[in-house]
Symmetry: C2
Subunit: 263 residues, 2 copies
């Protein structure tokens, strides 16, 4: 499972592939798996990588068959080896593998009181595969280095018009009265499965959903700001530069709902 | 040399690395090596990957020590395994390896009479690492698939304002009287070593050098259009949609100069 990949694999050569990072519950379940699988199949179709759902099921099941316990399961799918330069082979043999890992080190205090965000200088430009969780992640690597250098907990990444797209590894949300806002990710960003789950849940609960690109200043008047991903769940944001937000009850409820799902 | 890479290598996980593709002469020389090495070191510095020139020299020398003969030598440098998600490890152990390959299958007729270009739909968005030959190459993979589907020889990739940046695997040039034009690659594209060599050569020969972004229509009035890279040298362009260009003497001279270097 934690083996090696051929040095001419196109995942390594060009980032020609996709990945998914799943939260594994203490009981060994992966509750958001159907959404992860659907996103992976959709990305594979966009890239033209032939894979079927059964192969993904087997890969996940095999990886979970050994040691269980809460943690993270990462699936990687690439177009496999070969091709002539950038041109993929006509009949590729995709590479698919799983790796287990531990949960990210967010503390109870950070989850309770919220984290401090910064604004990364690294921009997120137009991505022809916006939404996909593909293997071209250098902007996120650069952004994450900025976060570490500045001592923030996470970093917002902006588009060329300085509109927030997402954090380096989490989607962005803000609450305004009965409206839940998140950037639209039409030009860049990863369409998170926790994001989709939260949007559906909120819509079903009667929230007004606002999915569009907004200037950074839009956040100033928010009642609460939070981040989400499928491993951490909901992480409230306490502070961004001079702006400070409380953690209002709706944000705590979203957090509890996802935590409950992950139990 | 043609081995395997750990499945948690950051080159595979995020495209967190760089590559160089060198032309190897029949005598086993790599005439543009100092430029390749300089670009690789520059990219490594921008990414924060610790590597020294001596390690690159050894890797190249070892790869050329065995079978020689004309062909291609590809060097890949990644940040190596590890890290916590996108955050690189503090003290990375880079992965560096070489692979030999054959020359691309351009025919004598294509090199003599020129090739047919198309215009790819896949855009090249803002790249925070513009100029670097990094491992995030999904736009080029998508573009190259368009070229194959349409039956072109190569494809021009445009920015969001439909200005040509480069072809999928080659830089773009055009000749207008005594002026040699090439796109400026400030926001996207790979700063080719053959491109740099040609620009210096042309400037030394008294050409007026015009390095800036121009609309696609700028090409219409060109005396001649050509592509370059460090493996193929110069490839004249004969046709793009309804536009047809001859192969003027200056383009043949640039081609001969680079072919001479590669002998």
């Amino acid at each position: 499972m934690n083996g090696a990949v051929a040095s001419d694999d196109r995942g390594l050569a060009y980032g020609d592939g996709l990945f998914e990072t799943l939260r594994v519950s203490a009981a060994g379940d992966t509750p958001l798996w159907p959404r992860h699988r659907a996103r992976l199949l959709d990305g594979a179709a966009r890239l033209g990588i032939p894979v079927d759902g059964a192969a993904l099921e087997r890969c996940r099941a095999d990886a979970l068959a050994g040691d269980t316990g809460a943690g993270v399961l990462k699936l990687t799918l690439t177009r496999g080896p070969g091709g002539r330069g950038y041109l993929p082979p006509d009949d590729p043999t995709p590479t698919l593998f799983a790796r287990r890992g531990g949960l990210p080190p967010w503390t109870a205090a950070q989850r309770e009181q919220g984290v401090q965000l910064g604004v990364c200088d690294t921009p997120l430009g137009l991505d022809p595969l916006a939404g996909c969780k593909h293997l071209n992640r250098l902007p996120q690597v650069l952004g994450r280095r900025e976060v570490a250098a500045a001592g923030w907990d996470e970093g917002l990444m902006l588009d060329e018009w300085r509109r927030p797209v997402e954090a380096t590894a989490m989607n962005l949300f803000a609450v305004f009265g009965h409206t839940l806002w998140t950037p639209s990710l039409e030009r860049a960003g990863v369409a998170g499965v926790a994001r989709a789950w939260l949007l559906e849940r909120a819509a079903a609960d009667g929230w007004c959903i606002d999915v569009r690109m907004r200037p950074l200043s839009h956040l100033r008047a928010a009642d609460g700001v939070f981040l989400s991903n499928a491993v951490v769940g909901v992480l409230p944001v306490r502070k961004l530069a001079q702006w400070v937000w409380p953690v209002p009850e709706p944000v705590r409820r979203f957090q509890r709902d996802l935590d409950h799902l992950f139990q």
